[in-house]
């Protein structure tokens, strides 16, 4: 009986354990690996650009700067350093070389591997720096001696930008940093020509001289009289109206440019003012006729025609020169009144008669420019009288030598009809 029970139990166990195959599970064992990960930081720095600020002079034709690019982040990152410039002939004319340098000290001799460009097309400097790493780049710009002369006054502003891009979203920048480069003008203008005096009166003279040239431009001339500066003018001419009669002066001129460069001094010229004085009366004789100026019939009455007649010692042929303004004179007859040489009308036409009228009075012509004359001397020491109102000369009509030939105003022509000699009579 027990055997049967045992067999039954064994069969049941066998069937349960092996017959179905269900209800079993597999062995397993765990393990783990733990760690951490980190995202880095991303930043770049740019320094040294300010050293590109430079003024080119004849003794400083080259500028070298060590620009430092630094990866200020913690991850390796690519970078691009771009340099742009404002347009100018300096920007397009300078020769710019760049190269990587192991230190902030740039080689004196530019490596053959350096890039070459001008400021308008500097190749972008690219590279990749590990986090915290940095790299120097030397930037050398230079001008030739001739460029320094021709580009004087030019300027360009340089702008440097450092950018770095990681993936699609991480962007780091440094700058823009700027530097300004200029070309100094240290070249003086050429020496001005020797001053030439003209229209010299008892009180004034007109000076002109051959203009100077300059690599940038002449901005002014300094006029020296007897080694004392009397004026600064912008063109190659000057009228000195502060002279004394019958006095000799020496004039020299310097040219200056905008940078203050001063030329060598010009050759000197000597000028002597005419010897007329308000208290002195003169006979005025025509060079062509040798006859003297007088009112018709010796009259000093108003509207009397001025003519030439044989010279005498009569006071009706005596004239004094009284300064008015601007180097002009009134030519006054010997009288208690003030009869003066007058262009008959304000017309500027040739042939308008010269007459006598009083300086004082209430008409429009009294004291006007028709009664004022510039007295100058020609190369022969003869005098020329020019009407202030017309700029025309005191002229013997048709250069006649006949008595009582009228005097008129006429275009100045350098003939003997317009040349006069003065003889003091008192």
């Amino acid at each position: 009986m027990r055997h049967r029970i045992a067999i039954a139990v064994a069969a049941a166990i066998f069937l349960v354990l092996a017959g179905t195959g269900a209800g079993n599970a597999l062995w397993s064992s765990p393990a783990s690996v733990s760690s951490s990960a980190a995202a880095g930081t991303h930043a770049v720095e740019l320094t040294g650009v300010d050293a590109l600020t430079h003024t080119y002079t004849s003794s400083a034709l080259t500028d070298t700067a060590a620009v430092l690019v630094r990866n200020a982040g913690t991850v390796s990152a690519p970078f691009t350093l771009a340099v742009t410039s404002t347009a100018s002939t300096l920007a397009s004319g300078a020769v710019v070389r760049t190269w990587a340098s192991a230190s902030a000290t740039c080689a004196t001799t530019t490596p053959s591997t350096a890039t070459s460009s001008n400021w308008t097309n500097v190749p972008a400097i690219t590279g990749t720096l590990a986090g915290g790493a940095s790299q120097y780049y030397c930037v050398r710009a230079s001008l030739t001696v001739d460029q320094q002369r021709t580009l004087a006054g030019q300027t360009t502003t340089l702008t440097a930008r450092l950018t770095s891009q990681l993936g699609t979203a991480w962007t780091a920048t440094a700058g823009p940093l700027t530097a300004t480069q200029t070309v100094a003008d240290d070249v003086a203008p050429t020496t001005p020509g020797r001053p030439v005096a003209a229209n010299t009166t008892g009180y004034s003279t007109d000076l002109t001289w051959a203009a100077s040239t300059d690599n940038v431009g002449v901005t002014s001339y300094e006029v020296y009289r007897n080694n004392v500066r009397v004026a600064t003018v912008t063109t190659a001419q000057y009228t000195d109206e502060t002279l004394r009669q019958n006095t000799t002066y020496s004039y020299t001129v310097y040219a200056l440019d905008a940078a203050g460069n001063r030329s060598a001094v010009s050759a000197a010229t000597s000028v002597t003012t005419i010897p007329v004085a308000p208290s002195t009366f003169y006979r005025v004789a025509g060079v062509g006729s040798s006859k003297c100026v007088s009112g018709t019939g010796g009259s000093l009455a108003s509207n009397t025609q001025l003519v030439i007649i044989p010279c005498t010692t009569a006071t009706t042929q005596s004239w004094a020169f009284v300064p008015t303004s601007g180097g002009y004179y009134a030519v006054v007859g010997y009288s208690n009144a003030d009869p003066v040489w007058t262009v008959q009308t304000t017309s500027t036409d040739d042939g308008v008669r010269a007459v006598i009228r009083n300086w004082s009075g209430t008409t429009a012509q009294n004291g006007s420019t028709t009664q004022q004359w510039r007295i100058t001397r020609n190369a022969n020491g003869e005098y020329i009288f020019t009407a202030r109102s017309s700029g025309k000369c005191f002229d013997v009509q048709n250069n006649s030598t006949g008595d009582n030939t009228p005097i008129q105003q006429y275009t100045c022509n350098g003939t003997t009809a317009q040349s006069w000699r003065l003889t003091a009579v008192s």
Partner: protein
């Protein structure tokens, strides 16, 4: 006398016979199935006096819980970090195991974890970008679909060397700059039938 002398032995012999039948049944059942039973999963404590069903054990670089260093090199978008040397996963038991990364837990910046891709590549030496690995997002990383099979300890194929590589997505946002994340790969070695 002989009857008396014989009668007492019969119950003993009967009991022994019954016990033998039971043992035979159990042995036959076990041999017939070729499997072991969960209840016997001793991992380390299977009694030697009980049925000799073998052992299981799994280690990473010799430890059941291995702390891997060198993976926290800061990354930028598109950049990777890979283990300098392979990690060795070993079967220390006496049964063949199928090993998987069952799951991966992350801590710290989950935003960063979500921008990281983990690649596990069987290789004797490690280098960035090596081919043939199993890649997936770090958070929830698993290799359940492609287990490694390890032979019992002491046999050829009882270990495998793998390289771990982490890659930060190229489009990772700037908000994850400077962030850190921790992770734990949970491996399971399961007995192979």
């Amino acid at each position: 006398m002989s009857t008396t002398a014989t009668t007492p032995r019969r119950p003993i012999r009967s009991l022994l016979t019954s016990a033998a039948v039971l043992v035979i049944a159990v042995v036959l059942a076990l041999v017939g199935t070729g499997t072991s039973y969960a209840l016997w999963n001793g991992r380390a404590d299977v009694n030697g006096s009980s049925v000799s069903a073998g052992t299981t054990g799994l280690t990473v670089n010799g430890a059941q819980a291995f702390a891997l260093t060198g993976m926290n090199t800061p990354l930028g978008p598109g950049q990777s970090v890979v283990t300098a040397t392979p990690v060795t996963v070993a079967n220390t038991g006496s049964t063949q195991l199928a090993v998987t990364v069952a799951d991966t837990a992350v801590g710290g910046s989950t935003a960063l974890a979500d921008e990281l891709t983990l690649t596990i590549t069987p290789a004797a030496t490690c280098s960035a970008g090596q081919a043939g690995g199993l890649a997936g997002r770090l958070r929830g990383y698993t290799t359940a679909q492609a287990p490694f099979t390890l032979a019992p300890a002491g046999q050829t194929g009882s270990t495998i060397q793998v390289c771990l590589q982490l890659t930060l997505d190229a489009d990772a946002p700037t908000s994850v700059k400077g962030a850190t994340t921790t992770f734990q790969l949970n491996l399971v070695g399961t007995q192979v039938r």
